[in-house]
C-alpha cells in the first residue's frame, strides 16, 4: 500500500517535523519504497514462529536497587537552553488551538 501525502503529513505532525513541500514529496516516495521492502517479509511463512521483539537471545537483564549518586544540580542544568529557579524552562506547552 503506497504512502499518501496525508500519511506523510500525519507522521510529520506526530514527530513534530516541519517539512517543506519538496521534502514531503521526496518522503512520500521514499517511505512507500521502504514499506514495499518491508512487505516482502510478510510473504514469508511465519506459521508457528513467535513474534520477535529483540534480535538477541537475552532476558532479565536488570540491576539491584542501589542508589548511584545523581548529577549535581548545576551539571544537570548546564545544557538547558533556559533555566529558572533551578528548573528547566520550556515554552508554553499547549497552544490555544491544537
Amino acid at each position: 500500500m503506497p504512502i499518501t501525502r496525508k500519511d506523510v503529513d500525519h507522521v510529520a505532525r506526530l514527530a513534530r517535523l516541519a517539512l517543506s513541500e519538496e521534502e514531503k514529496a521526496a518522503l512520500e516516495e521514499q517511505l512507500s519504497k521502504i514499506l514495499a521492502h518491508a512487505e516482502r517479509v510478510t510473504s514469508l511463512d511465519t506459521e508457528g514462529v513467535p513474534p520477535t521483539s529483540h534480535a538477541i537471545q537475552l532476558a532479565n537483564v536488570a540491576r539491584s536497587d542501589d542508589v548511584v549518586d545523581p548529577l549535581s544540580r548545576d551539571d544537570a542544568l548546564a545544557n538547558a537552553p533556559a533555566a529558572e529557579e533551578h528548573q528547566f524552562r520550556v515554552p508554553r506547552i499547549l497552544e490555544e488551538e491544537e
Partner: protein, 488 residues
C-alpha cells in the same frame, strides 16, 4: 419523558497508578523520594540525554509481580517493555517506557465486600512503567493554556510506576470507593508503595457511563480525584449529571472531565480530543522479562495474608463484627497493633480489644490525621489499659480519658490512673458507706423504691457516682443499693 432511576445502569472502570516504594528509579540509580529541591535527583538517563541506556530495577519488577499475584493475575512468562511516543516537556525522552500488549499481569480479580455482599471486580492488566517529571506553569494564573512558559522538575521522572486497569465491572460510586480502599489496603499490606493520594503515590482515574433503556452510554473520563472521598463524590456527581442529561434528552459527549473538589463538580476538559497515536513499539534497549517458576513460587510464598482474608478470619475466629473487622484490616499498622495487643492482654477478650482499637483508638487517630505508625503508645501499654477496663479496675469512661492522655504523652495507663487518682472503687465496705449517706440524703426517693417503684433507682446510682467523682464501680453500687432497699 422521564425514566425511573432504577432503569439507569452505571458502568465504571478504574485506572490506578501506583508509585513503587523502591530506593531508586526504574531505569537509573537516582534515589526516589517525595518533594525536595528541584532537579537534585536526576542523571543523564532520567534526563533523556542522547546515548544513555536504561537498566531496569529488579526490585520494581519484583514488586509489580507481587501486586499482580495479589490481584490473582496470570503472570506473563515473557513480557516486554514498549515505547509510548508523545511530546510533553515533563518527559525528557519524548517517549515513556511502558508496557503494551504483554503486561506483567493480566486477567486478575479483586474480591471485596459492599454492604455485606461479596463482589468480584475484574482486573484487566497490571503493568510497569516510569513516572514523568512535574511542571509548574508560570503566568496566566498557573493555568496551562494561558501560561507564558513552564518550569520542569525531573526529580520524579523515572520513578517506577505500576498501572492497574479494572474491567468495567463497577456499578456505583460507592463500589468504586470500596474498590479503591480495598486496593489501597492490599498495596499497603504488600508494602510496595506509600499509597498516599495527597502526595500522588496513588492516583485514581475513572471511566464512567450511564445507560438508559434505548439510550446507550457515553464514556466520560474523570480525572483529578485526590482522595477516597473525592473518588466517591466525583463519580456520584458524574453519574447524576449523565442521568439528568439522559432524562432531558440532552446529548452527551465523550470527553475528559476534571473533578473540582472545592465546587464539587466535574469540569469539562478539551472536548475536541484528537486521537492519540502513540506509535508503540518494543523498547529495543531492554530485554524481555522472563520470570522463572521457582522465583514466582518464592514470591507467592512471601505474600502476606491479604486484608479480606484476615477480615474473614477474624470475624470467624474472634467473633468480630464487620465494622470492627473492616477497620482493623484497613492498614497493616492497625492490624499489627491489634494482633500485638491481643498477644499481650490477660483479662480483656478479643471483641473488647477490637472494639476499642477500631473505635476509640482509630477515632482518635483520624481526628489528628496520624497513622498507626505514628503512635506514641505500644501495644503492651494499650493491652494494660484493656486489662484495667476488663478487670473493673477502671470504668469505660475513665479508660477513654486515660487513653487520650496516653496518646499525648506515651506514658503507661497505670501511672496515669495513679496520677489522676482514677482507680475504680469496687470495694464493698468503702462503697456501702457512700450508699448509706446517699440513701439518708434522699429519703423520699429511697422510700419510693422500697415501695416497689423502680423508676427513680437511677437517681440514687447517679448520686453515688457523683459522690465518688465517677470512680465507683456502677455494678457493685447497683448491687448494694438493691440489697439495702430490698429491691430486685
Amino acid at each position: 419523558m422521564t425514566a425511573p432511576s432504577a432503569q439507569f445502569v452505571t458502568t465504571i472502570g478504574l485506572e490506578i497508578h501506583v508509585e513503587l516504594k523502591t530506593r531508586t528509579k526504574m531505569f537509573c540509580g537516582c534515589p526516589v523520594a517525595f518533594g525536595g529541591e528541584p532537579n537534585t535527583r536526576v542523571c543523564p538517563v532520567c534526563l533523556g540525554h542522547p546515548g544513555t541506556l536504561p537498566v531496569p530495577n529488579e526490585k520494581a519488577i519484583e514488586l509489580t509481580n507481587k501486586i499482580a499475584m495479589a490481584l490473582d493475575c496470570e503472570i506473563a512468562p515473557h513480557s516486554i517493555f514498549h515505547r509510548k511516543n508523545y511530546f510533553y516537556p515533563d518527559m525528557p525522552k519524548n517517549y515513556q517506557i511502558s508496557q503494551y500488549d504483554i503486561p506483567i499481569g493480566s486477567r486478575g480479580s479483586l474480591d471485596m465486600e459492599v454492604g455485606g455482599e461479596s463482589r468480584w471486580i475484574g482486573i484487566t492488566r497490571v503493568h510497569l512503567e516510569e513516572d514523568t517529571g512535574k511542571s509548574v506553569h508560570v503566568g496566566g494564573g498557573g493555568r496551562i493554556r494561558e501560561a507564558e512558559y513552564s518550569l520542569e522538575d525531573f526529580n520524579r521522572a523515572g520513578t517506577p510506576l505500576v498501572e492497574i486497569v479494572t474491567e468495567p465491572d463497577i456499578t456505583s460510586a460507592e463500589e468504586a470507593r470500596v474498590f479503591a480502599q480495598e486496593l489501597r489496603s492490599i498495596l499497603e499490606f504488600l508494602d510496595v508503595s506509600d499509597v498516599r493520594m495527597e502526595e500522588g503515590s496513588l492516583r485514581i482515574d475513572a471511566n464512567i457511563s450511564v445507560e438508559a433503556p434505548g439510550r446507550s452510554g457515553t464514556k466520560v473520563e474523570v480525572k483529578n480525584m485526590n482522595s477516597m472521598r473525592s473518588v466517591f463524590r466525583a463519580l456520584e456527581f458524574e453519574e447524576e449529571r449523565q442521568r439528568n442529561a439522559l432524562m432531558n434528552e440532552e446529548e452527551l459527549v465523550q470527553m475528559t472531565r476534571h473533578w473540582d473538589e472545592k465546587s464539587g463538580v466535574t469540569i469539562p476538559g478539551r472536548v475536541k480530543e484528537y486521537a492519540f497515536d502513540y506509535r508503540y513499539f518494543p523498547e529495543p534497549d531492554l530485554t524481555p522479562i522472563e520470570p522463572s517458576i521457582e522465583w514466582l513460587r518464592q514470591l507467592q510464598e512471601e505474600l502476606p495474608e491479604l486484608p479480606i482474608a484476615k477480615r474473614r478470619r477474624w470475624m470467624e475466629e474472634l467473633g468480630l463484627g464487620p465494622y470492627d473487622a473492616q477497620v482493623l484490616t484497613s492498614s497493616p499498622g492497625v492490624s499489627v497493633f491489634f494482633e500485638e495487643t491481643l498477644e499481650a492482654v490477660k483479662d480483656a477478650n478479643p471483641k473488647q480489644v477490637a472494639n476499642w482499637v477500631a473505635n476509640n483508638l482509630a477515632g482518635a487517630l483520624s481526628d489528628t490525621g496520624e497513622r498507626f505508625s505514628d503512635l506514641k503508645i505500644t501495644p503492651s501499654q494499650f493491652a494494660e489499659l484493656m486489662d484495667m477496663v476488663a478487670s473493673g479496675e477502671i470504668n469505660a469512661s475513665q479508660g477513654k480519658e486515660i487513653l487520650s492522655a496516653m496518646l499525648l504523652t506515651g506514658t503507661s495507663p497505670g501511672s496515669i490512673a495513679e496520677e489522676r487518682d482514677m482507680r475504680q472503687v469496687s470495694d464493698r465496705g468503702e462503697l456501702e458507706a457512700v450508699v448509706d449517706e446517699v440513701i439518708s440524703n434522699n429519703a423520699e426517693v429511697a422510700d419510693r423504691i422500697r415501695a416497689g417503684d423502680m423508676k427513680p433507682f437511677g437517681v440514687l446510682v447517679g448520686a453515688v457516682m457523683r459522690a465518688t467523682q465517677g470512680k465507683a464501680n456502677a455494678a457493685v453500687v447497683t448491687e448494694i443499693l438493691k440489697e439495702k432497699l430490698g429491691a430486685s
